[in-house]
Symmetry: C2
Amino acid sequence: MATHGIVLFAHGARDVRWREPFERLADKLRAARTSGGEAGPVILAFLELMEPDLPAAVEELVSGGCDVVTVVPVFFGQGGHVRQDLPAIVERCRELHPSVEIRCAVAVGEDESVLDAVAAYCLRQV
Amino acid sequence: MATHGIVLFAHGARDVRWREPFERLADKLRAARTSGGEAGPVILAFLELMEPDLPAAVEELVSGGCDVVTVVPVFFGQGGHVRQDLPAIVERCRELHPSVEIRCAVAVGEDESVLDAVAAYCLRQV
């Protein structure tokens, strides 16, 4: 059976505090995958200003035995970073690891249930 | 009774496509507030690269009769934009509109149920 790794791909920032929700998200996913009987790892990667970058994250997953990697952009919108920068980096990763299947999901903010959760949060603020 | 406006504060991007989830989010909130019997408006504002900026958005809400404005940062993390840039802009808005109560929420990505929805989305990708 294929070992399927997940990379949570985020923008990165100078402020270390910015990283926290992504770490919490990765922890949630690890817990959910473990309780669901899935062994695949979950790691973070950043476009800029934070480590590791996406090629380093993919390298780590491949070294750890993953033969499928899904990159999930933890961005609200499908802007230039997700529509241009990310595909170029993913293409580079594919060239570096031709035997590994590297998939790329749509930005999380495009998902209806994510937007519903954000809307519910906003309504709780007023 | 106070008229309470919501500003969804996002980063902004060069790519117009980036704006779409925020527009969908604003539409969801308008629909929810209308069905909940709340009359207050919901508008977008951007830190950079897109219009309007936060002072212009607050000006619009105040001109429209809002006496309370809640700014919700639609960011994943409490990074420099939310912890430094935003408070400075909000302070400027308060000086411009001293009779209006301007509140500022924590970034949506810090919310547990938002992170749960993002995690569920990620799990559906593998």
